[in-house]
Symmetry: C2
Subunit: 233 residues, 2 copies
């Protein structure tokens, strides 16, 4: 790692940006912070696309002259490039790694899509001066609620498992928690009525603090006080 600069491009309002930020900070991996303001569309400029990430998204890295997007791909790259990365993030043990991988693939079209779609619609629509369609809000809410119920039931086995891959915290937990934090900002508390999910979120937070709270500080500014962490209903 030492011979080449690792530049990390991120926005702490982006869920996977927070997950990788927590991993980098907690692991004390030397890197250069390159914040990108999504609200100013800094990620959409021709320059950003040509020199940083051809997809115009964050998070992404530039390591020496190697550019890489997709947070899960970056996690795997760092696990090979940084021999000092603590094993728990992406365990080398075969079955534990497979379970972490299974979650990291599964989440794209479930937890990730469901929470992001609800957040984007409910939070962004009024900001754009448009009216919310109550039927659409309810459809997105139900879709997300079903996904969160499934997460609690299948991945946490209703509290029998401490973390997604078993007894140890991994990157899968941090990515999941960062995603599940997001709809709070749109007034939805994912912990309400889901005590095992709430307890798991607190475990992930405790296991990664002070970086977890630091990463979520900006998000919580936009979150109704009564549901911002660590208050659990």
């Amino acid at each position: 790692m030492a011979s080449r600069a690792l530049k990390y491009y991120y926005d702490l309002l982006s869920q996977p940006s927070r997950a990788l930020y927590i991993l980098l900070e907690q692991s004390k991996i030397p890197y250069e912070k390159c914040p990108v303001a999504l609200r100013k569309l800094e990620n959409r400029t021709t320059e950003f696309k040509e020199t940083i990430n051809r997809f115009g998204k964050v998070p992404c890295i530039v390591h020496g002259d190697f550019k890489l997007a997709e947070n899960v791909a970056i996690l795997r790259y760092l696990s090979r490039e940084c021999p000092d990365l603590p094993d728990f993030w992406y365990p080398r043990e075969n079955l534990a790694r497979a379970r972490v991988d299974e979650y990291l693939e599964w989440q794209h079209t479930t937890i990730r899509a469901q929470c992001a779609q609800y957040f984007l619609y409910v939070w962004m629509t009024p900001l754009l001066g448009m009216e919310l369609d109550p039927a659409k809000v309810e459809r997105l809410r139900k879709n997300m609620a079903d996904g969160l119920d499934l997460f609690q039931r299948v991945w946490l086995e209703d509290g029998k498992k401490a973390f997604v891959a078993g007894e140890r915290l991994s990157y899968a937990d941090v990515l999941a928690a960062c995603e599940i934090e997001q709809p709070k900002c749109a007034g939805y508390d994912p912990r309400e009525g889901r005590p095992q999910l709430a307890a798991w979120m607190e475990r992930v937070r405790q296991g990664t603090n002070p970086y977890y709270d630091e990463a979520h500080k900006i998000l919580y500014k936009f979150t109704p006080k009564e549901i911002a962490t660590p208050t659990v209903k």
Copy 2:
């Protein structure tokens, strides 16, 4: 591998099922074929969910008593479990592996979602005795067409790259091609107007035949003859 049976659950009408099928067959990995008929909802039974895959989906594997879902997680698991798996599928070289990983993460909400959504709506709606909404067809078609254009431009660099990760075929190509084959079945030829994508599809097919054609035989039965492979418009 030898000491424990590897059972592969799949349906060749499922895009990622075909990709893993091609990998297993071409690599001569010993495994037991366990076909699951999605059209008969065999994947939705309580027994299937309890004993095979808790998410009720294919593809998935049971290796000894270890159950694993998500085709990309299975690829990675097999790359560790099967030392004889040819390197090109999931290259060990760091940067090539990162590029394959980047595609495998990127595709979930782009090529995978776009092609599958078009196929499911256009193909399934009439089978369910319902009428297609032309505006929805057009919206899904445009979304998919934009994704395919982006794939050709960014991943194939308009033909400058032979394969997704560079000069060598990898699992990323096979997964992408199996997905891009699917909308043909609903009468849409992804190769039309995209000569570099068409040439790449043929390279993927040549690089994995006879398994590619074998895996697609059932799909092509439902595909209008004039756009079934290998005829390229």
